[in-house]
């Protein structure tokens, strides 16, 4: 009796937040011929260390869906009418095993027309599934092998290390030519290791030395064993890519605690969360490429207002740029082609240009990836001032490294 009660408690406790697939929104797929709605699926982290990214991605897609649905949806020729957009999201906890379950459910049960994802191992997991299902994969990944000619329906919706990092280091060097010793710290995964290679190559060309680098695992909160030898080596600026906001916040706090007074440079994070964790004074001057700051561009202001109305403060700047910026081409491609056929939309994506909240973007990268499935878009550079990101410049991707 007691054991049954305990098992019931355990089941109830685990169901809402730790079950493999937690429905955030959406309905079951409908029966019948022809599309009756445009189903956007997301397998994305909605809990855990990567939740800041996943929630931002989901909200970006939801806001775009709301925008089009307010006008009755998107006209699809096969349906002969406008179709509303459904957003169906499951929490994959940023793990491949959960991603498999979520993606299977999205593809086979919900019959989504598009599947969004987050993270390299997760993108690699979904790519063959999307190819087999004949649907477009719209993913964020730092994996060197993505995009890939073997997966022509898999697109990358964010600028990645290859596109951004060289641009960031070059910009930083122009602003701070006196800094010569830099340090790199990254997640212990393919993206993190790739980041180090790009930093070394770019920094060397600019006359800077990478005097320290190390990797850390997901869930790390104490970075002092990494910071101490870096300070001993004389690091003047720390560079990191793909670290979650709480890791960045902990790192900055602990580095300042140990006496570091140099620069921090990151990619695509959430400055106000970092500043809260690190302390406003400690985060002052934090440089972030890919995060839009104040003032919000006019094109993004309506989305900022819509975000605050729907989700409340604080505004997630990551939601606007890069995720909303990265999702707009997909919606525009559907609108232009008036089709849900993946190959038709893919061709439009590869050949067209798209107007986004951050300016004009297109898809390229064939010279590096072998296929033009990598988004190319101008990237903002923001600096943290009193806990708020302030946009100070816009840059474009540097030429691809050898």
């Amino acid at each position: 009796m007691l054991l049954m009660g305990l098992l019931l408690v355990l089941a109830l406790a685990t169901l809402p937040f730790t079950s493999a697939c937690t429905t955030e929104d959406g309905e079951d797929g409908e029966d019948g011929e022809g599309p009756t709605s445009i189903r956007m699926g997301l397998s994305t982290p909605l809990s855990g260390d990567a939740a800041a990214w996943g929630i931002a991605q989901l909200r970006a897609v939801e806001m775009l869906a709301d925008e089009y649905n307010a006008e009755g949806g998107i006209y699809i020729e096969a349906a002969g009418e406008k179709l509303l957009i459904e957003v169906i999201a499951y929490d994959d906890k940023y793990t491949p095993s959960e991603t498999t379950i979520c993606a299977t459910r999205l593809i086979e049960q919900d019959e989504v027309h598009f599947i969004h994802n987050m993270g390299e191992e997760m993108a690699t997991t979904i790519a063959p599934m999307a190819r087999e299902a004949g649907i477009i994969q719209w993913g964020t990944s730092w994996e060197l092998s993505d995009p890939n000619p073997d997966f022509p329906l898999s697109f990358s919706d964010l600028m990645r290390n290859q596109e951004m990092y060289a641009a960031l280091i070059t910009w930083f060097h122009e602003q701070h030519p006196e800094v010569t010793n830099i340090g790199s710290w990254a997640l212990n995964n393919a993206g993190g290791l790739l980041e180090h290679g790009i930093i070394e190559a770019t920094a060397g060309d600019l006359g800077m030395d990478v005097v320290f680098w190390d990797v850390f695992d997901w869930g790390t909160t104490d970075f002092t064993p990494l910071i101490l030898p870096a300070l001993d080596a004389g690091v003047e600026a720390f560079f990191s890519s793909s670290a979650p906001p709480d890791a960045v916040g902990n790192f900055i706090k602990q580095a300042r605690d140990l006496g570091f007074d140099g620069y921090f440079c990151i990619t695509m994070s959430e400055t106000h969360w970092i500043a809260e964790i690190a302390g406003y004074e400690n985060a002052e001057g934090l440089i972030d490429i890919g995060e839009i700051g104040e003032p919000i561009p006019a094109a993004a202001q309506k989305y900022a207002d819509a975000y605050l109305e729907k989700y409340g403060p604080p505004l997630s700047t990551m939601c606007l740029i890069p995720w909303l910026q990265g999702s707009q081409p997909l919606f525009q491609a559907i609108e232009r082609t008036q089709s849900l056929i993946a190959e038709v939309i893919a061709e439009e994506l590869r050949t067209g240009t798209f107007i986004t909240v951050g300016g004009e973007c297109w898809f390229g990268g064939a010279e590096f990836y072998g296929i033009d499935n990598q988004i190319q878009m101008p990237m903002p550079i923001s600096v943290c001032m009193d806990g708020v990101p302030v946009t100070v410049d816009w840059v474009v991707a540097a030429p691809y490294p050898d």
Binding site: V9, L12, T14, D49, N188, D222, P225, E276, I277
Partner: protein, 286 residues
Amino acid sequence: MSGELFSQTLLVGINLGAFYALIALGFTLMFGIMGVLNMAHGTIYMVGAMIAFYIYGQAGLSFFIALPLAMLITGLFGVLVERFLIRPSGGELLQVWLITVALWLGLQGVAYLVFGFIARGVPPPVTGTTTVLGLGISNYRLLIIGVAAVLIGGVYYLIHRTKIGLAMRAVEEDKIAATIQGVNLNMLNGFVFLVGFALAGAAGALMAPAYSISPTIGLTPLLKAFMIVALGGMGSVPGAIAGGMLLGLADSFLGVQFGMSMAYILTWIMIIVILIFRPKGLMGAY
């Protein structure tokens, strides 16, 4: 390794060790006296951190009010857990273990609902640095060491200088004989849970300004607690203190010397080697 790096690493290691010892102390108390492997220990640490977040970070009260309040709230929660969840189970190992797992997951679920998914932070209650051994160490790290030392010292005094501590040691040695001698087991168990949970809550509140706060922060302290009690000896209070300090110094020096990922592996190898030569841990009785 330069002299300055060595000294800084030593200071950080002592700081970590004090935190680890605090985390492990409550865990080993509950196992040593009651035979309870508290899988919710890390979650109570998380609760302590969140209490500090709301009282100190959000309501703006002093951190030195938030810390004892966190201990009081988590400690009283421990009394309720022992009375209404653990005691009815009759103390069967598997059932108790399952109860604490359910508590762990349930509390984490509630934390997601109340606190949310995104990590938050609170500022340190003291700022600035003090020179120790010719090196600057942040005043907050010194505070952590000081508070942890006071709490650990308090527990040591409780166990070795008070009647209730004598009762705890008696039960740990021979439960039946202690009962015959008049020890009220139910009251004692409730007290052990109060102290164990309060220590975990204290660790969480104390470390809240040092690390980010989120519903998932309890797993690492739980893992560290297991490592330390295995290293120091299951149920041994001095072992928990020694094991905590040893692990803190190992994490610091091995991390600095070999990198964080390799340090994690080397730490486990160290524990295995120690257990091969001392299967009961450094000071274990089991």
